[in-house]
Amino acid sequence: MPLKLVFLGRLEDVAGAPDREVAGADSIEGVLAALEPELAAALREPRIRLAVNGVLLAGGDAPALSHGDEIAFLPPVSGG
């Protein structure tokens, strides 16, 4: 039950790649817990927005994850 993680902006540098496939987890917390601590800390910063399958999460959302879900980590935008 793999998941796809997408890292935007400077998070790509922390992760070492723009995206990564990871083993399945039931929740975003479960995904973060399995990552290397430095990356997990960067992804947990309060200014990072999350989107699951292209839908932005609101603060406090903790969606259940399914096979093949794409989770994007979005730092503050730097403008067009």
């Binding site: 997408v6 935007l8 292209g54 794409e70 979005l74 503050p76 730097s78 403008g79 067009g80």
Partner: protein, 151 residues
């Protein structure tokens, strides 16, 4: 193209903003005026390249949503938003916004509003290359001041 529809494009390759603006103006002959904004990579700043990254599922839909808000706020004959993504070099166009309206004032305000919101809210992440090294750009306080003008 329906003359009343908005035209919103996210491009991975370079484009000719003047030609796009000319085609847009020709398509809106009932409008008395067209205001266009062309943003380009500044030359002479020591920046060798600029890269905009976007996120497919969100970036273009949010641009279309912005176009809808602009259309709801001003009486326009047409609205065009073209934005580059990917690697660009000094002098390359980044963005074109054009608003066609019967009344000049509406066209100016709509283009101005669209640019302020594209600059501060649109889903792009930017990095610049200088002295051979890439560096991610953080949001600018100035962009948030611009957007606050609109209430």
């Amino acid at each position: 193209m329906d003359a009343g529809a908005s035209d919103v494009r996210l491009l991975t390759e370079s484009f000719d903003p003047a030609a796009a603006l000319g085609a847009f103006t020709d398509a809106h002959r009932a409008a008395g005026g067209v205001v266009g904004f062309i943003g380009q990579v500044r030359a002479g700043d020591g920046v060798e390249a600029l890269e905009l990254r976007h996120y497919d599922p969100i970036t273009l839909p949010a641009m279309c949503d912005l176009a809808g808000r602009v259309r709801a706020r001003w009486a326009l004959d047409g609205l065009l938003i073209v934005h580059r993504t990917g690697v660009m070099h000094p002098g390359d166009p980044i963005v074109l916004v054009a608003a066609a309206a019967r009344h000049r004032r509406d066209a100016f305000a709509a283009a101005d509003f669209a640019m302020d919101h594209l600059k501060s809210e649109s889903w792009f992440w930017k990095r610049e290359k200088a002295h051979g090294a890439w560096r991610w750009i953080e949001p600018r306080a100035e962009d948030f001041e611009d957007i606050r003008r609109w209430g």
